[in-house]
């Protein structure tokens, strides 16, 4: 038996398809706008802390692990002369969405991460009078 559709029914079906595609596209866009809210910061991160003085930089390596919203890990600082990493303290902090903050001894870090990048500010509080502010940029190592 031959079935003949009306032109109005075909149009309705095309509209429904377009709407479905639009919803899907919207979902994909939302996911791209908040790329890291559900991602983990666990892993090894390497980067630099830079002070205001051009030679006041230190290369750091962080081995992070997430436990719920809690961040723990070990930090390493690279000797500026010998070019070797040495343990520089255990890290404890929190992550909420793409924001993260932690503390290692006198050093406090806060910033945001996006995928495999992290950037933020470092506050150094010291009794020795060597307090200051610095920036931190890290890249996750794959």
């Amino acid at each position: 038996m031959l079935s003949v559709e009306s032109s109005g029914g075909r149009m309705l079906r095309n509209l429904a398809s377009v709407a479905l595609l639009m919803v899907l596209a919207a979902c994909v866009q939302t996911a791209q706008e908040e790329p890291s809210s559900n991602a983990s910061m666990s892993g090894t991160w390497v980067g630099e802390i830079s002070g205001s003085h051009p030679e006041d930089t230190v290369t750091v390596r962080l081995v992070l692990k997430e436990q719920g919203e809690q961040l723990i890990g070990e930090t390493f600082a690279k000797d500026p002369i010998l070019d070797e990493f040495y343990p520089s303290g255990s890290l404890e902090g929190m992550r909420s969405g793409s924001s993260a903050q932690w503390k290692v001894f006198e050093q406090s870090v806060s910033g945001t991460f996006s995928g495999d990048s992290f950037s933020g500010r470092v506050t150094i509080e010291s009794d020795s009078g060597q307090s200051g502010e610095a920036t931190i940029r890290l890249q996750r190592q794959r």
């Binding site: 830079s50 003085h53 006041d56 040495y86 001894f105 010291s126 200051g132």
Partner: protein, 346 residues
């Protein structure tokens, strides 16, 4: 008169007698505080005595019986040479020889009556009287009768003139406690040698010890050096060992490599100073660690005076060291060093 000659006192060196020794209750081995040892038992000494008057002929006969040469009663010495009585087995043959020498006996026999049993006695006008003598449970003296008999020749040369006499044998030995020990008779009747176990006598808390390489402390006997347990040696003193330094880190440590510096901040002299501090007997660990910590942080601050980021990184590396020396690892390193550079007692 050389009366002793008649009582032929010949000592012999026999193997000392040993008795099984059970330590009394207050002795160290039984949980007491006395140092106890068995008495020392000397060798038996034997002597013979003819039960007759003091005749010169008898002195001469004893002298010859033992193989000596009789020089006369007024010579000094009267008897020269000869083999002294050294064993119990020589007593009968020597008695027979005595009779031969005394009488020219052509026939002699001797009857050994045996050592007196406890409670028995002998009586003699010219020799000894009494019975067995004991010190504790150990016999130290006893007597034996040797009855000699036989015949001498008559005027016709026939061996027909009978004779008989009694010879007394005696044995004695010394039973003594070693020097510095006291004697007592225990409940079981045994002779015991004991002394209080005091440090100046080489005793400590119920244990014997050697002051040259051991110490007596409240916890008992301790090895002097190297110290085994520091807690048991509160009065320790320097052993005279030189401090050992090895920069940052520890010999034989499995904690990986240690930075000797961070950038231009040199940690090595401070690590060596910390090693020296641990390696000084009775130096306070907390003070060593505190000085070490402030030295390292000061080194970082001095090296990076206008570089707060590098100074902070340096201080954080330094702080891992500070935490390490304050940890159980640091305590073990301190104890190990103190065990070497101290001795448990002066």
């Amino acid at each position: 008169m050389p009366h002793t000659l008649r009582r032929l006192g010949f000592c012999c060196l026999l193997a000392a007698s040993f008795t099984t020794y059970a330590a009394p209750e207050d002795c160290i081995e039984n949980g007491g505080s006395m140092l106890c040892v068995p008495p020392e038992v000397g060798p038996w000494q034997y002597s013979l005595c003819d039960d007759a008057g003091a005749y010169t002929s008898r002195y001469a006969a004893w002298c010859r019986a033992m193989g000596g040469t009789w020089k006369g009663l007024y010579a000094s010495p009267s008897c020269e040479g000869g083999t002294p009585l050294t064993t119990e087995g020589q007593m009968v043959p020597m008695s027979i020889e005595f009779e031969r020498q005394l009488r020219g006996a052509c026939l002699v026999q001797a009857d050994w009556r045996g050592w007196l049993s406890s409670g028995s006695t002998v009586s003699s006008a010219f020799c000894w009287s009494g019975g067995p003598v004991f010190k504790g449970d150990i016999e130290v003296g006893n007597f034996v009768e040797i009855m000699t008999s036989g015949a001498t020749k008559d005027s016709n040369g026939a061996c027909s003139v009978p004779f008989a006499e009694r010879i007394l044998g005696h044995r004695s030995r010394k039973v003594e406690c070693p020097a510095n020990y006291r004697e007592r008779t225990g409940r079981s009747g045994k002779l015991e040698c004991y002394r209080p176990c005091l440090p100046e006598q080489g005793c400590c808390k119920g244990q014997q010890y050697t002051p040259a390489n051991q110490c007596c402390t409240q916890e008992g006997v301790q090895q002097k050096w190297p110290i085994v347990d520091l807690q048991k040696c509160p009065n320790r003193t320097s052993s005279g060992q030189s401090p050992r330094v090895n920069g940052c880190g520890a010999e034989g440590s499995d904690l990986g490599s240690f930075a000797q510096q961070f950038g231009s901040a040199d940690f090595r002299p401070h690590c060596n100073r910390h090693d020296e501090c641990y390696d000084t007997c009775l130096r306070n660990k907390a003070q060593c660690d505190e000085t070490f910590g402030s030295d390292l942080l000061a080194a970082c601050n001095a090296a990076y005076r206008d570089r707060p980021v590098r100074a902070d990184a340096c201080r954080r590396v330094a702080r891992t060291y500070i935490l390490l020396v304050q940890s159980s690892w640091g305590l073990a390193a301190y104890n190990q060093a103190q065990q070497r550079v101290c001795q448990c007692c002066p």
